[in-house]
């Protein structure tokens, strides 16, 4: 439905605003750029919180976490699986949600033209990227935390025991790192592709099809370094957890974190470079 408004309004001429007039020609310094990051963060938060789609994703995430964990717990014939292991099982799917959100944080702005408004207000590109990366990390952490909390509850409802409580904090921390890095990879890919459908479908294809299909046929030394194979290893829940790929010589989790984090860093770096060099419409 389109609303129209009367067009006969007479333009008002307001007096100049002191805070605006006094420092119009003030010159930017490097420290100004750093001090402007909180303002950019506030803007990114307003953009994120003001869209219904993001609220729907936030509402659906714990539901997804609870349902997957409950279904696995209910159907597990081997009741040695516990809630302290199952609560992270929904996270690969939640990681894709976080990755897609990271993609959309950039591509949606590029496609609707609001990126131009942001860059006009703050021409320093790295500051915009920093704010977006920080917001993507926050989104990842929130989605991960809510999914894991709901997953724990869902697993208990499914009839499994709590299990080793001492391992929960460690598993949750690695899982949150996995989700947050996934969101940043999404942001980097979005900055490179600049197209929502292409970026999301490409990333999903890579993660769920290419890596899953080809990883078993690749040498173990190569599989370690595939992005989502490395990231998935951060979710290692212990002896009952079977990785989707067979790895003869596993690396330590910090090493997998470095590999997955490296992909996030490289995609963000390439995306930032392209942001400086490309035209923005």
């Amino acid at each position: 439905m389109t609303t129209t408004i009367p067009t006969t309004t007479v333009p008002t001429i307001n007096p100049p605003i002191p805070w605006a007039a006094s420092n119009r020609l003030a010159l930017r310094t490097r420290s100004d750029d750093t001090r402007a990051v909180p303002a950019a963060l506030r803007s990114e938060w307003i953009k994120l919180a003001s869209l219904r789609a993001n609220k729907v994703i936030l509402a659906l995430t714990p539901l997804v976490g609870a349902l997957i964990a409950w279904a696995l717990a209910s159907s597990a014939t081997d009741k040695k699986l516990t809630a302290s292991e199952l609560f992270i099982f929904p996270l690969p799917l939640v990681a894709m949600l976080a990755t897609a959100t990271g993609i959309l944080m950039f591509t949606s702005e590029a496609q609707h033209g609001t990126l131009a408004a942001a860059l006009t207000a703050r021409p320093t590109r790295w500051m915009i990227v920093t704010a977006k990366a920080a917001m993507a990390t926050m989104v990842g952490l929130v989605l991960g935390a809510t999914a894991m909390a709901a997953g724990f509850g869902g697993a208990l409802l499914g009839g499994v025991e709590v299990g080793d409580e001492s391992a929960i904090a460690s598993r949750a921390a690695w899982a949150l790192l996995y989700i947050a890095l996934g969101a940043m990879i999404g942001l980097g890919v979005g900055m490179i592709a600049r197209h929502s459908a292409g970026a999301i479908s490409g990333l999903l294809m890579w993660a769920f099809v290419i890596e899953s299909l080809f990883a078993p046929a690749l040498p173990d030394g190569v599989v370690h370094f595939l992005p989502f194979s490395a990231g998935y290893r951060l979710l290692d829940a212990g002896p009952n957890f079977k990785a989707p790929v067979t790895i003869a010589h596993e690396l330590a989790r910090p090493e997998y974190a470095l590999i997955f984090g490296g992909y996030a860093l490289v995609s963000l770096a390439i995306g930032t470079l392209l942001l400086y060099r490309r035209d923005t419409n």
């Binding site: 609303t3 307001n14 010159l27 003001s50 021409p123 320093t124």
Partner: protein
Amino acid sequence: MINVSGLTKRYGDRTAVDNLTFDVADSRVTGFVGPNGAGKSTTMRMMVGLTPPDAGEVRYNGVRYTDLKHPARMVGAVLDARCMHPGRTARNHLRAMAAMSDIPAGRVEQVLAEVGLESAVDQRAGGFSLGMRQRLALAGALLGDPQVLLLDEPSNGLDPDGIRWLRNHLSAFAVRGGTVFVSSHLIGELSLFADDLVVVGAGKLLAAETVEAITARQAVTVVAETPQPADLARVLAARDVTVEATGDRLVIRGTTKAAVSQLAFENGIRLVELSETAQSLEDSLLDMTGASAEFTSA
């Protein structure tokens, strides 16, 4: 004042903007005209740092746009009225822009009132008419109370009422002391309120003058009807003017009605009709840019 000097942008083999140099004076409305593909939008994007130039620079009162600590307080830009997320309300759209520029949140309500969108603050931009989108885009540009407004084809798609609203608003902005730099295809509309014109074609500067100066150069056509067309044509031919004769009717270019009347009187030639028409500003500008137009009609 805005100083554009040596601005150049190339895309592969094609030079979209070629060594463009002009000034935009304070407290005036400057029109930026040229045919499609002349480089107007590319120039405006370079003026606000959205497109990196291959050469040249733009300075606002001596300061480059990218060196400004608060760009939104110096320059407000409306480059595309469709640049808003359809799922976001007008208020949140402006709140996000205000936050990015560190502008007090209260300013959002002020600019919405200034452009007449108070009744639509909580409506999603996807439901806006084109006129409302244009107003919201202008509100975004006014958030920082800028000294300069840059607008790229702001009248596109607006109805006559909307065009008049925009013209009044931009004129009021200039009267208040602001500088307006506006590109438009509607040359006739632009000539109603522009003080200066910058004319480009194929990326090159063709003219940068006041509207009065361009108007003064407009070609004049004299039409004379006489029972002695051959005599009048002979007399005019000696005066280095062009004459097209169709029966008793002569179309004369390169002289004035008064001069033709005097010549006819001195040579005893009777005139039945004598009239003079000036070329429109639009025709003048089309003549100026005609050779550099990328696409022309047959």
